[in-house]
């Protein structure tokens, strides 16, 4: 009679703002899995979560910043990376994670992505790629596959999508990987590596959008997962220019780039700042 029912607690509860749950993501959406992987990776990596910040732009993935129980910021559309850059430079001891979607990071915010990678700003950018603008109702994105149907390409997309790992590599990113939400373990390990990598780190996560993308392309949530299982190949040594998303030929997953080069702040300090300031800051640390 007096037995107290043990309350079941999700292992990530302490990293979530429980008062914001239930979340807005649709049944079958992959963002939740990408988000869980990110939270697990943050915890497993051993980084100081008290000094970790999540920044999002606009879109379904942008809600990530609202749900994470860390310092977080939901920026205007496309501006997650410049906002994160400002924050990282203002307080270099922060771990700054950008969690946003393909529409936000690669269309309206595309220029910021290539320049932050060029400067090798020490950020971890996780892009949930669901091939369309999910939140506004499924319009064509810079990642929509050729001939795929969306609400603004009703007879099929006439344009070629970006190869995001190639773009990241060509722009100067020092960690580049691609996984799907079905490859949860690899994805989590990869995000962990990206968090620990010093420099601009990029992880693309392919993720189903059954309600907007899937519905118009005869692909339900399970179909998407089957595609992720049957038509993907893990090739960690693949060249970035071989990574176009082509469902017929097979999609290449893996960790493609991990390299070292001086970060934005390293280069700036070495080139531009008088030594006494740098020494002074070191003393403070």
């Amino acid at each position: 009679m007096n037995q107290i029912k043990k309350q079941v607690k999700h292992p990530l509860d302490d990293l979530l703002r429980i008062d914001r749950i239930p979340h807005i993501w649709c049944p079958g959406c992959g963002i939740g899995t990408a988000f869980s992987s990110s939270l697990i990776a943050m915890r497993e990596s051993g980084i100081d979560l008290e000094k970790t910040v999540m920044v999002s732009g606009i879109g379904c993935s942008g809600r990530g910043a609202g749900y994470v129980n860390l310092d977080s910021y939901h920026t205007t559309h496309g501006r997650a990376i410049p906002f994160a850059t400002g924050m990282k430079l203002a307080n270099p001891e922060l771990n700054v994670v950008v969690f946003s979607g393909d529409g936000d990071l690669f269309a309206i915010g595309g220029n910021h992505f290539i320049h932050a990678a060029r400067r090798n700003v020490d950020l971890t950018v996780i892009c949930v790629n669901n091939f369309n603008y999910g939140m506004t109702g499924g319009q064509v994105a810079a990642t929509t596959p050729l001939t795929a149907k969306t609400t603004t390409t009703p007879v099929g997309n006439p344009d070629t999508p970006f190869n995001l790992p190639l773009l990241a590599y060509a722009s100067g990113a020092t960690y580049v990987a691609r996984w799907t939400i079905l490859h949860t373990r690899d994805l989590t390990e990869s995000i962990e590596e990206a968090l620990l990598n010093r420099g601009f780190s990029f992880v693309e996560v392919l993720s189903p959008c059954p309600v907007n993308y899937g519905r118009r392309n005869k692909e339900n949530g399970i179909d998407s997962l089957k595609i992720y299982q049957d038509r993907t190949i893990i090739r960690n040594d693949a060249q970035p220019w071989e990574l176009d998303i082509d469902f017929d030929r097979g999609i290449v997953l893996g960790k493609f780039i991990q390299t070292e080069r001086p970060t934005c702040t390293d280069r700036y300090d070495n080139t531009c700042r008088p030594k006494e300031f740098i020494e002074g800051e070191k003393g403070l640390e």
Binding site: A107, G137, Q139, V140, A142, T151, P154
Partner: protein, 379 residues
């Protein structure tokens, strides 16, 4: 002529279809998305092209390129999308390029809010765009067509406003105009100057101060003389389609002691409120401000008399000063001997609901205490 039920977004898309622009560049943003989704589907039907570009900044810059090369173009946006366009909005006016853009009025962040107010478009007041605010879906359709007429005559861009959700997502009965009639009203775009390899010209050069000044003065002169083009447009539109539009509309103002001044879909609510108050014997009227730029100062001076009170319903604030429409109206009556008491009411920011009873309460409150005229009244 046939009638159909459609949302404001579809009415806009139909207006665009009838105006047949060669090129449409747009980026989706709530609550404008249905306009561009419909256009993406129907643009090829008249030989047009729709390109879903990578941002609003790209959309408006692409439109500038298209019209400079002699095409008729269209775009639609809202809120933050409009703010992102701001640099090119100024450039469009300086370059004297015609365009029609529909803006689904929506609040501006921070904090995030997707509901209707007029902060986005009224913040573009000084860019030199002509601005027209619509009350109904029919007016949205008709104003798009009129927008091209006016824009291509004055060589200035036209921004057509519909309230986000309240018009964009609400269905009303709409008259579907016959294409031949629209062709009779709106001739094909025939630019006097365009980028043309057979007749090479250079656009967008630097101008020394004297030339710059002269060109800026010409913009203002066009605004001053622009009222004639509006009059011609409204007369011709009435001849062809049988519907009369004006710079503004006065409703029950003649014997009114108090007049509400309002723009956009809130006009509909205010109409109902005015009818309710009239039934109670209150002498109230309504001015629907349709054309905000050029500001119809003389038309307003003719309708409003000194013994009347004017309650301005603002859905945008110039912080630290007054409601944006209040500023404009007070300025229109500066140095006029017979000027009314103008009340500065801020109402319905971020989609805050307005009911006719609220407007009646405002009217009664002001009657009870005239000291309100020195305050900014937040309802």
């Amino acid at each position: 002529m046939s009638k159909d039920m459609m949302t404001g977004s579809d009415a806009v898309a139909l207006g665009v279809k009838l105006a047949k622009p060669d090129l449409i560049f747009a980026y989706p943003i709530t609550p404008q998305t249905h306009i561009v989704e419909t256009l993406s589907e129907i643009a090829p039907s008249w030989g047009g092209r729709f390109i879903n570009v990578e941002s609003e900044f790209s959309a408006i810059a692409s439109c500038l390129g298209a019209v400079s090369a002699g095409s008729r173009a269209f775009t639609a946006t809202s809120s933050h999308g409009l703010l992102l366009m701001h640099e090119v909005l100024h450039w469009f006016v300086g370059a004297r390029m015609p365009l029609v853009m529909v803006n689904a009025n929506r609040a501006i962040g921070s904090p995030w809010n997707i509901w209707a107010d007029q902060s986005d478009s009224l913040a573009q007041r000084d860019t030199g765009w002509l601005q027209i605010y619509c009350e109904t879906c029919q007016e949205a359709l008709d104003t798009v067509i009129q927008g091209y007429y006016i824009s291509e005559k004055l060589l200035l861009p036209v921004m057509v406003m519909i309230d986000g959700f309240i018009i964009s997502h609400t269905m009303e009965e709409v008259e579907v105009h016959e294409p031949q009639k629209v062709d009779a009203f709106l001739p094909p775009y025939a630019p006097q100057f365009k980028l043309d390899v057979d007749d090479p010209r250079s656009f967008g050069n630097a101008a020394l101060p004297d030339d710059y000044y002269r060109m800026r003065k010409a913009i203002q002169r066009t605004f001053t003389s622009g009222f004639e083009v509006f009059r011609d447009c409204h007369n011709l539109f009435e001849d062809v389609f049988g519907t009369r539009y004006d710079l503004m509309e006065a409703y029950l103002c003649d014997d009114a002691e108090t007049i509400f001044l309002v723009a956009g879909a809130l006009t509909g609510t205010t109409r109902v409120a005015v009818d309710m108050m009239r039934e109670k014997g209150m002498k109230v009227g309504l001015i629907k401000l349709r054309v905000f730029r050029p500001f119809p100062k003389h038309a307003l001076q003719k309708v409003i008399a000194g013994h009347q009170d004017v309650i301005v319903l603002n859905r945008a604030v110039s912080y630290g000063a007054q409601g944006t429409l209040t500023q404009e109206l007070r300025s229109a009556f500066y140095n006029v001997d017979d000027n009314p008491d103008i009340y500065d009411v801020i109402i319905s920011l971020g989609g805050k609901e307005v009911f006719p009873e609220i407007l009646m309460g405002v009217c009664e409150g002001i009657k009870a205490d005239p000291a309100f005229k020195d305050e900014m009244i937040w309802v």
